[in-house]
């Protein structure tokens, strides 16, 4: 026992039951998915081979990746401006903005999705108004296509993008920005050379969060895409619930999991992930 405790911090013993529980409840299902992907409907890598054989599967994966990248790009860019405005405006306005941000967190995704239809649909407020004042003859197809999916997803993701950026910006030492100005740097030089690099961990955290959440998007693409924008999450759900091709579903889930892990690994080559997830910088 003394030999054991010399090597293992006694703290581990205290959290061991919890660890076992987490392993069982978290790792168990994941292993089950991986297992399913090589055993259903028959043992082997047949499910994975489908990726090579089926243009459609590749297209669905590519659509998903493309939409997630564009969503992430816009959400993080817009989120960056919002977080910047929040950090650098008066406390009162900041509180208003934070409230609005949190309120949009609380509104259900279905309500938000259908609100976009009412606003930007063929007979939505915007199209009707533009037609009434004679700016357009035919309604603009904002919704029920990939553009609609992107609008809905970006809107949903912005609060998720803002929060890590807000944390990152709030922890900045603003005297460093003063120092840059004092040394003769213009506002934009200070931003590009000092502010942006120092908020990079926030940008990375925000990007990872939004991208990974976007991968699992289901309701918004299904509704706003008009059925024509098929993303992996919805396809997996159909394979599980309707067509009973659980092996295909498990394979796609495994691919997504691997993709996310690979992304984290690549990130970890460039920076310490602990700084991204709020750990100390040193």
């Amino acid at each position: 026992m003394p030999a054991l405790t010399r090597h293992i911090h006694p703290g581990w013993l205290i959290i061991a039951p919890l660890l076992v529980l987490v392993m069982a409840l978290y790792l168990g299902p994941i292993l089950n998915i991986l297992w399913l992907s090589v055993t259903d409907p028959e043992p082997g890598f047949g499910n994975y081979a489908k990726l090579g054989e089926s243009d459609a599967l590749i297209r669905i994966v590519w659509t998903t990746v493309r939409i997630c990248i564009i969503t992430t790009l816009f959400s993080v860019t817009l989120g960056y401006s919002i977080a910047y405005a929040m950090v650098h405006c008066h406390q009162r306005q900041k509180n208003y903005m934070l409230t609005l941000l949190l309120v949009s967190f609380w509104i259900s995704i279905l309500v938000r999705t259908f609100s976009w239809l009412m606003l930007l649909g063929r007979k939505g407020l915007v199209n009707v108004t533009l037609e009434d004042i004679g700016l357009i003859a035919e309604p603009i197809a904002f919704m029920r296509n990939e553009l609609g999916v992107l609008i809905g997803m970006i809107h949903y993701m912005i609060p998720y993008a803002v929060l890590p950026l807000l944390v990152s910006m709030q922890s900045l030492d603003m005297r460093v920005m003063d120092a840059s100005r004092n040394l003769g740097a213009s506002g934009s030089q200070t931003f590009w050379r000092i502010y942006l690099p120092l908020t990079t961990p926030g940008i990375v955290a925000s990007t990872l969060l939004v991208f990974i959440l976007s991968l699992g998007f289901y309701v918004t693409p299904a509704v706003l895409g008009g059925g024509k924008v098929l993303m992996v999450a919805e396809y997996i759900s159909v394979q599980l619930l309707v067509t009973l091709k659980w092996g295909t579903a498990a394979m796609l889930a495994a691919i997504m999991l691997m993709g996310v892990l690979a992304m984290l690994w690549v990130m970890s080559r460039f920076m310490k992930l602990s700084t991204v997830f709020g750990g100390a910088a040193r």
Binding site: R122, A222, V223, V229, V238, V242, T243, L244
Partner: protein
Amino acid sequence: MHDKQFMKETLQDSAHAYKEGRMDRRTFLALCGASGVALNAVLAGDAEAAADHVVMWNWGGQSEECHGSAIGDAFTASTGKGLKFDTSGPLEGKIKEMVDSGNVTADVADADLFNAVSLGPTGHLEPIDYSVVSKDKTLPGYALEHGVSVILYGYAFVYDTEAYGDNPPQNWADFFDTAKFPGMRSLYKWANGSLEAALMADGVAGDALYPLDMDRALAKITSIKDNSLYWGSGSEAHSMVVNGEVSMGMVWQNRGRNIENDTDGRYKLVNNQALAMPGAYIVPKGNPAGAAVMQFIATAQEVPAQLALLDCLGMTPSNPAAFGQIPDDQQDYAITSAKNIDKIVYNDPDWWGKNGGDAVNAFLEAIS
């Protein structure tokens, strides 16, 4: 009194959820605490009640109320057993998962007849006991070993009378003809009905649809893809029409009357060439109420229940004895009414049960 009833139902639902692991213990205890009920009382009461009722697994919404009044009341009167609901929607994958997990909590699922073809042979369903349920009280071919059709619903379409006033579309050929009838269309996203409609539009006779020629059907579907939206639920189909997103929309026929009302008659239902889908009751293997559920299915086949379901949900009777009793105000909407029955075509559950998964995937891949 009403509040108490609500509380009891909430707690018993929660007890189910807790037992199934869908709700954590703390939440469940908090609910019990909030209502002043001891944990044991709820769990014990629930267990005791299990043999006293049949659990119907349906899609929620209005159907809960309608199944209760149309079938549940008569079932309770004749057997003394109650009717409870699980409204989470018995998709094929969920039924398979429930049976595979060994924790079967539903007695009868409001499903499609083709589910009986795909899930029956794999051992996920109880066979229908035709000594209790009648093969004659449904259409021929719709009383299968593991499921029996209790109602029919149709894939029909509605069109915008303002767009095509003088020369309205008559059939699926018109529906797919965007040159003659310009405008947006909506179709069902999970392939049922859409494939058959496409083949009929392409000239296949209604009684020669099966086996479906997938390539031909998908070619027709993709020919109007740029003008098409696809819906995944009845309410979505409804809103695409009511919000004016489409000039012609495929809908479930039972929604037709609501759409006509909601648009003040601007959109009109066409039941010509409607595809009759056999909605079926199927029994998950090892259902808790056992054989008692067969009596419930038999009750649903009776003419009063058939007419009540039509009245309440717009679901068309599948018992031929009820066809003649369809009231005048439902003649336009019920697909087995005297007015419509000669114009409709019939779905083949056998083909769908065996080929449905591949067909849905091929369809999804074609439209995305």
